[in-house]
Amino acid sequence: MTISNIQRRRFDSLIIGAGGGGLRAALQLAEADASVAVVSKVFPTRSHTVAAQGGMNAALANVLPDNWHWHMFDTVKGSDYLGDQDAIEYMCRAAPKVVYELEHFGVPFSRLDNGRIYQRPFGGQSQNFGGEQAARTCAAADRTGHAILHSLYQQNIRAKTHFFDEYFAVDLLKDEEGNILGAFVFDIHTGEELIIEAKTTLLATGGAGQLYRTTTNALINTGDGMGMALRAGIPLQDMEFFQFHPTGIAGRGMLITEGARGEGGYLVNAEGERLMERYAPNAKDLASRDVVSRAIETEIREGRGCGPNKDYVMLKLDHLGVDVIQKRLPGIRQTCITFLGIDPAEQPVPVYPTAHYTMGGIPTNRQGQVVVPVKDTPEEAVNGLYAAGECACVSVHGANRLGGNSLLDILVFGRAAANHIIDYLKENHYHRPMNEESIEKAYQRLHRWDDTGEGESVEQIRSELKLVMEKNCGVFRTQEVLDQGVKEVTALHERLTKARISDHSAMFNTARVEALELENLMDVALATVFSACARTESRGAHSRVDYPERDDMNWMKHSLYSLLERKLDYKPVRTKPVTVATFPPKARVY
């Protein structure tokens, strides 16, 4: 196959990724009679949105008094004042409408006796700007993500969205002026390549939890859209902010919720000591997430970890008794029995901090347009390119995401991006001329994996990367640790250019897909570790042992990492909301 033989298809809009953000955008576009192609490396209903069980926030005030302005306050505060307040206002105002739309699409939200949508309280929610607990999270039992994904998929089938299922996107195509023209993709089944020309392209590829050895994320979360953006010359924003949960099942990653410690569970080290007494004498095991995470890592670094490799600590629950565990923590009990063969009612559970959510990503404005700094302008829109959801950084989560805001983010900004695209398509009737050089580049990058001969394996480099990221860009961050991380990730990046795979066939070459995924992860890893190394303060999820305080004077700004130049730049936080007054930074105390 040569480049001239590769089939070309034209669409008004191309969407890469078929989770909630991609499908919400696709539906809006298809209903506006745009021709829409959705490219997804897995079958759409197997996207990671399905794992979002908690629910989505919207100030409906069905259970307790609420309004969008209080929701906005909580989100700004939760973001540790790094969130852009115009985008946060937009999201919180749009939330109720987005929930009602989903209801009309068929999402079976749980109900109150009076027939209204049920709302549950969640951490970080308040009434009246920091007052009493609010109840803001709408849920479809414990399967909200699943219900949303399936409803949106079915609506898209009805609206005749064109799906390219099990296709892998290699790279964005762009011309010399920087306009994005579509993407170079291939069919995982047949290996057949395809050039999709589109007037607009939306990246909605999700997060990059697979950067870390211990993660709650599915295997598909390899930061593909972020990697594509970096290689297209677009910087990634705020990548140093990665949300960790202190208690994941060691070696597996699944979350053991804070509820387990809330019920009286506590952490012990290899010597059987209650380790949190040393780090938080008052709050102990109920101290904030970053304190507990860092305490676990410190115990391990100082040789008091459990197990043959001394690389985890134990969560003790057995003293609570089987009845309490079965009644209050049935999911956790079942997960431990299933995956570890351990019943937490009888034995302690090995735990380690687990990587959960990528706050950073591809910089966008609140219309979903990807924006980059050009000369003195910090945010110039990239023509034809949009991003939404976890792969994007709009930025509504800032330095720390609140529970219930991730499903909201993907739906609000998937929809907003589609609305902007619809307007764009009204003004732009024709496809721009394709840039052949850009195709050649993507083609060469894909076919570099046809090289034969000696070389390291992809598996080896991947497992080393995940370990380095965990040790040197995880929950324990000092200058020394991060400097070492930069060094090691840079070396791994170089080693990957010489790696080889043994399968060179076209059909179902999953080894090649995994190699391309690792290239994406590697580029994202560079962005993450470089950004973390440079930020000398503690803010939200980026917690530095050597710089324990937030430093608004020097660091209330967004990081921007460029892969091509391997350098960092910064831009100001948008502190001015659309219609209301700014929430000025305050200490983030709960």
């Binding site: 197997r46 699943h146 099990e166 709650t216 599915a218 295997l219 597996r252 079942q334 029995i337 070459n509």
Partner: protein
Amino acid sequence: MNAVSSMPDKKDSRLRWRCRRGMLELDLMLNNFIDREYDELDNEQKSLLDQLLDYPDQLLFDLFLGFMKSSDKDIDRLVSYIRKSVAT
């Protein structure tokens, strides 16, 4: 080099790709099972596995975590086999 023996089994690759799911729990459960047990499966079990992989993620989650039991006896047996394999 023998071209035939070096050719990976594409049917396995297809099946393995279908084991890439939206939830980590399913990834771990299914990939572990394929790694350990796939070669031991007879044709009937392989075809049942193919059928099981058509189930939506949330249903697989409920079956694998023991929150639900399939009324199809063959599927139920396969689910038990998969559950047993991951805990050992």
